[in-house]
């Protein structure tokens, strides 16, 4: 029998709020354990949760950025389970009345066909503490770090709309781009600010029922999510074909062995309305205020780049897929750089140079203003492309303006025909064979002569002017 997979995803994204969700402790990663704690996030007797306005705003921006509909009324529940990473015995989460419903992302499937991946809902919840297991001599010990306890999260729950690992991976990449765009989460699977659980079931192709699913956790890259789903489809198909029944449970992805292993029966704790966190009521005016704060999302921006700046769809999509890159590109345009030059130099020169140095665009010493000044000199023929690449290197190393670097290092292009004339005459005298070839109409020889003159000028000559002068002199 031919089977198809039915895949749904649950994505936890950590919001980059200043404080935790229910107290004023800093929401900061990487600090010494148990520094950022207080009676609230340690859940001491008598402590009461104080819901953060910033968490609500950031969560709402994520919802709006994903086209979801913010609900006029949402509320927190106590999701009951006992584990040492949650010593108060419940997690504050929105189980019954989520912050938003609906929404979705447009992706492209393997066949290149557009597909809408729908979201079921998005809810807010607090993160739990982090468990650290160590050995003290031969004694295994378990430690609890409460720095993470109470970190604000959104959980994005999709409809079971994916049919292949590829679709799930495409969705995650697009989701990451869009959530980063809102500026509310770093969404990095690497450091755990984005965590993905996949729910996978299979059914005979052509049928519509939803069969018993298996939940897979512990993937720390988009690639691993794809691998884990692929493995699970194969495993379930083989099991069903062998006459076994799929039972509801949770499995862990083992990235080294590239297999999923059973962890536990899937646990669904009860969710009791929380009596201490007030229900959240959003007025249409407030929602509108949030909508205004939302940046232009990548799809709309790409479309505008095509229309406004004449880029190809592919170029526009690439530039708009990263908020920083798109912003940098537009800053160059505002400085008066032609769109194609800006696109070309940004993607083929500046970005590789940043990557080489391990720098982020936002933290680059080559600000849009400095880079634009360099590109302006290039388009005015004050320097040539070779020199521009050299100047770029210097822009990383010191704080001088490109103009100052060009002057100080003598990169200015020589377009003065008088100065070039002498150089050209010298080259022509030294290369009689090439001169003869040019006269015979061999274009290759012309290129060679231009190169020779260029070399003689120390790379500073304007190749366009050389070509013109050579042409005149040789009548070619």
């Amino acid at each position: 029998m031919d089977f198809e997979a039915v895949i749904g995803l649950e994505i936890h994204a950590e919001l980059n709020c200043t404080t935790k969700m229910f107290c004023d402790c800093p929401n900061r990663y990487g600090d010494e354990p148990n520094i950022n704690t207080c009676p609230v996030c340690l859940w001491f007797p008598g402590a009461m949760p104080r819901f953060s306005q910033q968490a609500l705003e950031k969560a709402s921006l994520v919802c709006l950025g994903l086209g979801a509909e913010l609900q006029p009324r949402s509320a927190f529940d106590q999701k009951v389970y006992y584990y040492p990473d949650l010593p108060k015995g419940f997690q504050l989460s929105q189980a019954h009345l989520p912050l938003s419903r609906g929404g979705g992302i447009d992706i492209t499937d393997e066949a290149g066909k557009p597909k809408r991946a729908r979201l079921h809902h998005i809810h807010m919840e607090e993160d739990v503490a982090k468990l650290v297991h160590e050995m003290e001599g031969r004694l295994p010990i378990s430690l609890v770090d409460f720095n993470r306890a109470g970190t604000p999260l959104v959980e994005i729950v999709t409809e079971p709309d994916f049919r292949s690992p590829y679709e799930a991976m495409e969705f995650l990449k697009a989701l990451r781009t869009q959530v980063r765009y809102t500026g509310c989460s770093e969404c990095s699977m690497d450091n755990g600010t984005m965590r993905v659980d996949a729910n996978i079931s299979i059914r005979p192709r052509g049928t519509t029922q939803l069969n018993t699913k298996v939940e897979v956790k512990n993937m720390n890259s988009v690639r691993h999510v794809g691998d884990a789903i692929a493995y699970e489809i194969t495993r379930q198909t083989a099991a069903v074909q062998a006459g076994e029944t799929v039972i509801l449970h949770t499995r862990l992805w083992d990235p080294d062995k590239k297999v999923t292993t059973p962890m536990r029966a899937k646990f669904e704790g009860p969710c009791v309305p929380d009596p201490s966190v007030p229900a959240i009521e959003l007025t249409p005016e407030w929602v509108e205020k949030m909508r205004v704060r939302l940046p232009e999302m990548p799809a709309a921006r790409a479309e505008r780049f095509v229309k406004q700046h004449g880029l190809t769809t592919e170029e526009a999509r690439f530039l708009s897929s990263d908020l920083e890159v798109a912003g940098y590109f537009e800053a160059l345009i505002r400085e008066g750089i032609p769109p194609r030059t800006a696109m070309h130099w940004l993607t083929t020169q500046l970005m590789p140079a940043l990557k080489e140095r391990g720098l982020e665009l936002g933290a680059s010493p080559v600000t849009p203003a400095r880079f634009a000044a360099l590109l302006k000199m290039l388009s005015k023929d004050e320097i040539n492309a070779n020199a521009a690449r050299e100047v770029l290197v210097h822009l990383f190393d010191n704080e001088d303006t490109p103009e100052a670097i060009v002057t100080a290092r003598g990169f200015r292009q020589v377009s003065d025909t008088g100065a070039l004339d002498a150089l050209i005459d010298k080259v022509l005298a030294a290369q009689p064979a090439a001169v003869a070839d040019v006269k015979k109409g061999q274009g290759k020889a012309m290129g060679f002569l231009v190169g020779q003159v260029m070399q003689a000028s120390g790379g500073k000559a304007n190749p366009k002017v050389i070509r013109e002068l050579l042409g005149k002199k040789l009548g070619a």
Binding site: P39, P45, G46, M48, G89, P273, P278
Partner: protein, 399 residues
């Protein structure tokens, strides 16, 4: 007196001039006072010392009151088993006591020692710093022989608190006393609230009603057939909330850790096992049962609670205040189990389900009744105290 207090404190003179200057107030150990033992009557919190003051403590001290110690309480304030609420009066060690009211504990404790017991409206007084068990039903009750003291204390501790976001955003209450004119006030009596009392208690309740009639109030008998559901709703919703709230009283971070667990899960289980007394433990089990096995019943109870709230609210259009017995007809003696505990509070727990204010008015010395409760709509606390003062004054031959 050691049997009354778990902790005594001789406070240095409070800042002078506050409205509560010189007033000695006893609290319970479920109210956080920095550096005081805050064990809430439970082994699960043994040796837990509060890190910071509850909002009410901070406000009381600021108003000049002196906190004279905390009295012995039942485990988490659930019921009155083991509680010495009211004992500080008997020893004349306090002018007022703060007593957690979860099912009617402050009102029944007041009736034990013959003083006034007041349960404020839910959402009027900050719960920040209170060790909670049933957050949606409990609130800090006030005991005193003087309703003026109760009014002044309530005025001091009531109102918005930046540390308790659960307080609804409502207009502050005007606490200034106003005269009650019996001619303009109808008192409602819910038939179902007293019809089940044993004959002798029913007789005493009627004696109280006769006193009210003689004082010039109009009494109106009203029917509220849902009244018996209050107990059921309280028990289901209350036990579920308690089961959640008690999760953090794990007896691991404070309280005694049980030895002998093979791994941490076992250590947690064993520690929780020895942490709670039998009454609270059975209550938590019941809550867990509704959480995990009968969640639908819990949701039904929440819906019925909303219906009870609406029903009681509708009654306030027929009568300004409602009169209830305080006694429940339950046999005297310390109840050991849940059913007996709930039977004991059958006449008082309605106010915890609805969040409305209720006042226990003690009988006049030598009178042939047992005292009774009056209740009003939510946030009618000041008016209810006006009514109480009118009734007490009446006995003194005033008005």
């Amino acid at each position: 007196m050691d049997s009354v207090f778990v902790y005594r404190h001789s406070e240095s003179a409070a800042p002078s001039g506050g409205p509560l200057q010189g007033l000695r107030i006893a609290i319970q150990p479920n109210i956080s006072v920095a550096d005081w033992p805050t064990e809430a009557g439970s082994n699960a919190l043994a040796n837990f010392t509060a890190l910071e003051d509850a909002t009410i403590v901070q406000r009381l001290r600021q108003a000049g009151a002196s906190l004279c110690g905390s009295t012995r309480m039942s485990e988490f304030g659930f019921g009155l088993q083991g509680s010495q609420a009211g004992g500080a009066f008997q020893w004349q060690a306090a002018d007022a006591e703060l007593v957690l009211d979860m099912m009617g504990e402050s009102r029944l404790a007041a009736s034990r020692v013959g003083v006034c017991g007041f349960k404020p409206s839910w959402g009027l007084v900050s719960r920040f710093g209170l060790v909670d068990l049933i957050p949606s039903m409990e609130c800090c009750g006030l005991l005193s022989a003087s309703l003026e003291h109760i009014r002044e204390i309530l005025k001091t501790i009531a109102g918005q608190d930046g540390l308790d976001f659960s307080l609804p955003d409502e207009k502050p209450i005007d606490f200034s006393p106003r005269k009650i004119d019996p001619k303009n006030n109808t008192l409602g009596v819910i038939t179902e609230a007293h019809s089940g009392l044993p004959a002798d208690q029913e007789k005493m309740f009627h004696a109280s009603l006769d006193d009210l009639k003689r004082a010039g109030f109009t009494l109106r008998e009203v029917s509220f057939p849902d009244f018996p559901l209050f107990s059921l709703v309280h028990q289901i919703v209350g036990s579920v909330e308690a089961s959640c709230a008690a999760g953090r009283y794990d007896s691991v971070r404070y309280g005694p850790r049980a030895p002998g667990g093979k791994n941490w899960n076992e250590m947690y289980l064993l520690s929780r096992g020895i942490a709670f007394g039998p009454l609270v433990k059975s209550y938590l089990f019941q809550g867990a049962y509704f959480q995990f096995e009968r969640f639908g019943a819990f949701e039904d109870a929440c819906r019925i609670r909303a219906r009870l709230l609406a029903g009681m609210h509708a009654l306030t259009s027929q009568a300004e205040f409602l009169v209830f017995p305080a006694a429940s007809g339950a046999p005297s003696g310390a109840p050991a189990l849940l059913p007996e505990t709930y039977a004991q509070f059958a006449s008082t727990l309605f106010a915890n389900v609805t969040g409305q204010p209720a006042l226990y008015v003690p009988p006049a010395p030598g009178a042939g009744n047992s005292g009774f409760q009056v209740a009003g709509a939510r946030l009618s606390d000041a008016r209810l105290l006006d009514l109480g003062e009118h009734l007490l004054n009446m006995r003194r031959g005033g008005n």
